[in-house]
Amino acid sequence: MSLLDVNSVSLSFGGIKAIDGVSFRVEPGEVFTIVGPNGAGKSSLFNLISRFYPPASGSIVFDGHDLLACQPHEVVGLGLARTFQNIELFDHATVLDNLLIGRHSQRQTRWFEDLLFLPKVRREERAHRRQVEEIIDFLDLAAYRDRMILGLPYGVRKVVEIAQALVARPRLLLLDEPAAGLSVEETENMAWWIEDMQKDLGLTIVMVEHDMGLVSQVSNRVLAIAEGRPLAEGTPAEIQAHPEVIRAWLGGADEP
């Protein structure tokens, strides 16, 4: 059974059809990439899946759960975490604090227990920190643990945001342009992180990305969309050679 099943979803902003009948299935353990020109609706698709936008029609099922019946804050608890294109970290907090907030979906204590800081709260805090430290180790962030986000290079922030999503121990990770704004070297590192997450953590990854080098390096399957409609689906090589895709990108030329 597919882990994520997106079935002919549509989304309109007023008169503009941002997404028009897009369907795809993501199998457990694969890296599935969505590509498309600017304004194709890639990020909107992510915002549909993480429930920030309500779709006009269609269905989204994650691991047997109807996502459309969930509130946005309930999505991560099901095992579906995400990052943002523009990095939505808490700037005035340390890396460690940001990751601890990432554990929120796993919290076991109630507010009045927190208020009294019962022994249970301390036990839970230790467990949260152990999980956070494992992810810090995994993504090699130990050097930045106590640094404020504001003072960190852009490339490190990208990794911190992935770490923040990982501490919730998701099964599926939505990465919105993980390589945007990264240098060549940082993009190579990002490819390694993605492969590590897929192989070592057994994560399924759905990614939006423009960097075709990264896409063909890490993706198992690619979906190309343009103007809200699906164009083609296949392996990275198939997509790069697909005439429809080339036309959508380059406007009618036969060769890239």
Partner: protein
């Protein structure tokens, strides 16, 4: 100069105090607070009680404004709810402790009920709605005469506790200890909150609602909880305030008090418990200082008393200057002074310059 410390256990970060030395500092402060009546005499002990009551109210506002990022221009309303509930119950023969607890609870619950509609708004609209709430409660205090005593208001009865009769004027030192113990309790609970998931969810909502939601924080519920806790603390402060000023009526909780509370936490430094205390010192001490300065000036022949409202203007001016020089308030000043001592002689001038943040575009809200 502080030595570098290595954290070897998770508890090093979980504990309230970073180190033994850190704990010692706060124990010394507590010792000083306990010894204050002997050091200051009864008049200044009374003033210190006033600082404590305003610190408590400030903590209520700080929780909402400084830690959850929701503005309120109507928190005097919750002081009023706390004060009137508490005094009305005591005047009907309730004992001090259950009356105080009920007043706290009533303030908290009314906060939670009001939060639902009000917190759908944000920013300036939220400020206007809470301002309206503040004005509404001024009128309600007159209309609800059976509870509030109407225009006359209520007189605070003396407190019977542990066989003692505590009265702000009769036994100012006992009243001071009562305020101190309640403030210490609330401060401990507040700092517990900040080192636990609930406090982190407040900060998350303050800094980015979108991100908070993506990380599993129920934003509506978190805001409601923050509003309720904030109102409960402010209501508790209101009840103590009733005993502090001995008589409350509709004029005790005017909108100007709400604005002063907001100023208090901003001047003290948003986003820190310390800020509520620093701000309270300013709110209580500054007007007194201005009054003393005015008396001194008139002694040497400069008649400033002829200008009514000058006190307020000087007060405002000092606050504006402070904000321009240190936007993080007195807590920011305190941080810089402390760092200067810790790093001496290596302190650099630009150390606390605020870094420019990346522009966040394409926010969903």
């Amino acid at each position: 100069m502080s030595k570098p410390r290595f954290k070897t256990r998770y508890d090093d970060d979980i504990n309230r105090f970073e180190s033994g030395g850190h704990r010692l500092q706060y124990l010394l402060l507590l010792g000083l607070a306990l010894a204050a009546p002997w050091l200051l005499g009864s008049y200044y002990t009374g003033e210190l009680s006033s600082v404590l009551v305003w610190s408590m109210a400030g903590m209520g506002v700080m929780l909402l404004v400084g830690h959850t990022g929701q503005v309120s221009l109507g928190h005097a309303a919750f002081m009023a709810i706390g004060a009137f509930t508490h005094l009305a119950l005591m005047l009907r023969g309730w004992h001090f402790v259950p009356a105080l607890m009920t007043a706290t609870l009533v303030s908290g619950i009314s906060g939670a009920l009001l939060a639902r509609p009000i917190l759908r708004l944000s920013g300036i609209y939220l400020a206007i709605a809470t301002l309206a709430l503040g004005i509404l409660v001024e009128d309600l205090a007159i209309v609800a005469e059976p509870v509030t005593g109407g225009v006359r208001g209520l007189i605070a009865p003396p407190i019977e506790l542990f066989g003692l009769t505590i009265d702000r004027h009769g036994t100012p030192i006992a009243f001071y200890y009562l305020c101190l113990s309640l403030v210490v309790l609330v401060t401990l609970a507040y700092s517990n909150l900040l080192r636990s998931p609930t406090g982190r969810s407040f900060l998350a909502v303050r800094d980015s609602e979108i991100s908070a939601r993506a990380l599993g924080v129920n934003v509506t519920r978190t805001k409601t909880l923050a509003f309720a806790l904030s109102c409960a603390i402010t209501g508790l402060a209101g009840a103590l305030y009733g005993h502090l000023v001995q008589a409350v009526n509709f004029e005790s909780f005017l909108v100007i008090i709400s604005i002063a509370l907001l100023l208090q936490v901003i001047v003290g430094g948003l986003g820190s418990i310390h800020g509520a205390f620093f701000g309270a010192v300013v709110i209580v001490v500054l007007p007194q200082g201005i009054a003393i300065a005015r008396d001194l000036l008139s002694d040497v022949g400069i008649r400033v008393a002829a200008f009514p409202g000058l006190d307020m203007a000087v007060f405002a001016l000092i606050i504006i200057v402070l904000m321009v020089l240190e936007p993080r308030g007195l807590y920011g000043v305190w941080l810089r002074v402390r760092t200067w001592f810790e790093l001496f002689p290596l302190y650099r001038k630009g150390l606390f310059r605020r870094a420019r943040s990346y522009l966040k575009t394409e926010r969903l809200k």
